[in-house]
């Protein structure tokens, strides 16, 4: 008798637990997983797309567009709104051949306007990592390009703490290494997400993003971000 009782309770517990896990998973992993929206920025002539596979936790993002560069951008963006301090990590694999400078990015963006201020950690198709940003609406794009390491599977991490934005990269399963940091006043709320641009209005490129996480991080210690 006691054994049956305990079985029932354990069964109940298990059900509740499964229900809680399911609802948590559902909350975190809607149709777009950790993100809420998906759209083409800058109205490229071809259409991009985004799919989230809850089983694998992978995002397949197909993007077109001339570039994310100069004074206006064209790309496919999958995003959510956030405030405060956070870290985003994602492992990007190009599934299609294309132009050397096709881009897979983790991007912070003020708005979905084509000429919005943004900051991104990009991996180009040829394996050139870059951190790029537009300080003001309709301003030019700044870049810091790092030496090309060749095509591969790239883990990217971008963290914001106050005005400090730090970036890390790793190729083909190597441990993440910090590239460095910049200082940008981007404010809150801000759009946080993943993007793909084919660097050509006539091309579509698909990137598989896996091990994607968006985490809240502690605020920076006092004095950080001061030059």
């Amino acid at each position: 008798m006691p054994a049956a009782n305990s079985d029932t309770i354990s069964g109940m517990r298990k059900l509740v637990l499964v229900w809680l896990l399911a609802s948590a998973a559902w909350g975190q992993m809607g149709k777009l997983g950790a993100f809420t929206n998906s759209e083409d920025i800058g109205a490229p002539p071809l259409k991009g797309a985004a799919e989230f596979d809850p089983a694998s936790g992978q995002y397949k993002i197909t993007g077109t567009g001339s570039d994310i560069w100069a004074k206006a951008d064209q790309f496919h963006y999958v995003w959510r709104e956030m405030t405060g301090d956070f870290a985003v990590t994602a492992t990007a694999k190009f599934l299609t051949e294309g132009i050397a400078h096709r881009k897979a990015v983790i991007m912070l963006r003020k708005t979905t306007d084509t000429d919005s201020p943004f900051l991104q950690l990009a991996i180009h198709g040829d394996g050139t990592p870059s951190m790029q940003f537009r300080n003001n609406k309709a301003d030019i794009t700044n870049t810091i390009d790092f030496p090309t390491e060749g095509p591969g599977i790239w883990k990217l991490k971008l963290q914001r703490q106050g005005t400090n934005i730090t970036v890390w990269i790793a190729k083909d399963g190597a441990p993440l290494r910090e590239l460095g940091e910049t200082i940008k006043q981007m404010g809150s709320p801000i759009l946080v997400g993943l993007g793909v641009s084919s660097h050509s209005q006539e091309a579509l490129n698909t990137v598989l993003f896996s091990d994607v996480s968006v985490e809240i991080v502690k605020p920076a210690s006092a004095g950080a971000g001061k030059k």
Binding site: M131, F133, N135, I140, N142, T143, I144, D145, F146, P147, E178, L179, G180, E181, T182, I183, K227
Partner: protein
Amino acid sequence: MFTMRRISMLFLLAAAAAAQTGKLGIFTNSADVGAPAIKGSAEFDAAKAQYRITGSGANIWGTADQFQYVWREIAGNFTATATVQFVGQGAEHRKAGIMVRQSLDADATYADIMIHGNGMPGLQWRNRKGDDTNTFDLPFDKPATYQVKLVRTGVKIFMYLSKDGSEPKLINNTEVSFQNPVLIGLAVCAHDAAASETALFSNVSVEPQAPPAGKK
């Protein structure tokens, strides 16, 4: 005729040598940019081929700069190198390094590779006169003497760096549009308008890129 040629050649060589080892070594001018309250200075020790530069100034940052600058004019592509060492203590973010600059205006377009007093190397630039400064700072552990190399190739500014006396390694590059000619030189900033900081620069060179073959 032959003798005349030789004499004029010697004269030219002597003049070239004098220009290279003038009062400011390979540079031609030194001045405070941005009118800091405390005056900076620059000395070139020809025997050691070393520049001792003292600068004050609030910072090289935001929309206007204050620092001591030692420079020459140059057009086209070039490579500039220096070994940078701070003398004494000071603000963590005091700066010494190589700077390419459009003009002596406090808010001029520039790009520089700066070593900070705490050992942090940074690539910093202002895209347009009066615009905000952009930075990319590298991971670091402690103060050190760095070998710094700045290469200009068209709009690209390349940053090379090493710490142990080895050949500087390519770190990254940015893009900044300058009009020719530009100023290339060495800069020191105290990061404190009420202080003066000194840095020593050795192994300093500025080499224009050779003109393309067949073109004069």
